[in-house]
């Protein structure tokens, strides 16, 4: 299962990159898929359990997590 973590800013994607790399999570930085509304050109793609990854990324504040092809699985507070 592919999960896409969407962020507001490129700098957030880079912070996520730093955190996931430190925590040995298997992930990739990829362009935001067209079917997902894009706030920023890049997002995090992982096949690991999304709840675990979301926990690691809570301080970076992702704005949404999508289950590739099956739509939104989690929405953050974007205020």
């Amino acid at each position: 299962m592919k999960f896409y973590f969407i962020f507001r800013r490129t700098v957030d994607v880079m912070m996520a990159d730093e955190l996931l790399s430190k925590n040995n999570v298997s992930y990739k930085i990829v362009p935001v898929p067209k079917e997902i509304s894009s706030e920023c050109g890049l997002c995090v793609l992982t096949e690991e359990p999304w709840e675990k990854v979301l926990f690691l990324l809570k301080e970076v504040k992702p704005i949404a997590v999508y289950n590739g092809g099956k739509g939104l699985v989690w929405k953050g507070d974007i205020s």
Binding site: D17, I29, V30
Partner: protein
């Protein structure tokens, strides 16, 4: 080949204008980005673009650590400190209409000119705080100039003319308005930390103490201070909207960044960290001290470097009595191969304060790659020029 006259050994004592040479690692990093990455950071999703974005992020992170702040997204890249100062000054003063700003008399034109412009335009009183005869600004005098109508305080952290440091901490701790610190001459070669101050904005350049390429610089803005950007445009974010993003750093970083420069700047910062800022400072100060001690005893030479050495950087101004500083600097270059800077150093307020306006001084500024032998050569040259001018 368009260049000429670059043969022969040069002793470079103009590090306050730009540091030279830079560590080899800086140019290796620029070349590595140019040859192996090259892409536009964050604009595309391919691996090279991601790698470029990583590089920019790592430099942001390194700068935040250097400034002693945790929020690296509040580090904004500009092309130099002047542009950074302009964003900050306009952002703070545009539309204010009335009130006053306080600035030290040691401000560089990068700050002085936009301040003068916006104060005139917005009917703001510009209060310039004077310094001691040795070029030291007393923080208490700055605080005395602040009142309930003060919009912001501008503090030159170290004078590019006299090398004196103004402790911004002793000002920021006692005011609630923004304190804009011009750290152009200190970052990388003098201990620096924003610490817990929530009212300190820092303006910096990348090509002096940080040893990065020219065309790099920026500012740090703490949470709670909102500014308008100087320019608007593409940021690689919120592309569906024709409004400028409200979030940092994108709000201030329209258009493609100077990633070649940023790659070099990151290498420069890493080099400084590996050497230790305290060690670099000690080295530069020792050379400056040695130089001042030797040239102070030369008859007919006025050295503007008295005062507390713990509050100085490796910048020394002097004059040979009866000789134009421009001529002295030219003799140093043409006859001794010593590169200095003469004149007003873009800091007319500072020269007025020390009575060296309008002719200025000859400035010697030491860097991490200078040696005691460079100092000895410079002392010998100043002695010869001084004794020649004064008929000894």
């Amino acid at each position: 080949m368009g260049e000429r006259g670059l043969s022969g050994k040069v002793i470079y004592l103009d590090n306050a204008a730009t540091s030279f040479p830079k560590p080899k690692e800086v140019w290796d990093a620029v070349l590595n980005y140019a040859c192996s990455i090259g892409a536009n950071p964050g604009r595309s999703g391919h691996r090279l673009s991601v790698e470029a974005a990583r590089l920019v992020f790592n430099c942001r992170r390194a700068l935040a650590e250097l400034l002693g702040v945790s929020a690296c997204d509040r580090i904004i890249f500009t092309k130099n400190a002047t542009e950074a100062a302009n964003v900050v000054i306009r952002g703070l003063l545009e539309g204010v209409g009335g009130g006053n700003v306080v600035a030290t008399c040691l401000e560089h034109n990068a700050v002085a000119r936009p301040l003068k412009y916006w104060c005139r335009r917005e009917d703001i009183e510009l209060r310039v705080v004077s310094c001691s005869p040795s070029g030291e600004v007393n923080p208490k005098k700055v605080l005395e100039a602040v009142d309930e109508s003060t919009i912001a305080v501008f503090v030159n952290h170290a004078s590019n003319v006299f090398g004196t440091v103004t402790p911004f901490e002793d000002i920021a701790a006692f005011v609630s308005v923004p304190v804009v610190v011009d750290a152009t001459q200190t970052l990388g070669s003098y201990p620096f930390s924003v610490g817990d101050f929530s009212n300190v904005i820092v303006v910096f350049t990348g090509h002096k103490g940080l040893l990065g390429p020219q065309g790099t610089g920026g500012f740090y803005i703490p949470e709670g201070i909102e500014l308008d950007p100087l320019i608007r445009g593409g940021t690689g974010s919120n592309s569906e909207s024709d409004e400028q993003p409200s979030f940092l750093p994108d709000r201030f970083e329209s258009g493609t960044l100077n990633v070649h420069g940023i790659a070099g700047l990151l290498a420069g910062i890493r080099w400084i960290k590996s050497r230790g800022i305290e060690n670099i400072r000690k080295h530069e100060l020792e050379l400056a001290c040695l130089f001042v001690e030797a040239v102070s005893s030369v008859k007919g030479v006025d050295v503007y470097a008295s005062g507390d050495w713990s509050r100085r950087i490796g910048v020394v101004s002097l004059n040979v009595r009866g000789r134009d500083p421009g001529v002295v600097s030219h003799i140093l270059d043409s006859e001794y191969g010593i590169a200095t800077r003469a004149g007003l150093h873009c800091a007319p307020w500072a020269h007025r304060a020390l009575g060296t306006y309008p002719v200025g001084t000859v400035r010697f500024s030491f860097g991490p790659f200078n040696t005691e032998s460079d100092v000895e050569e410079a002392v010998r040259a100043v002695k010869n020029i001084g004794e020649g001018a004064n008929g000894c």
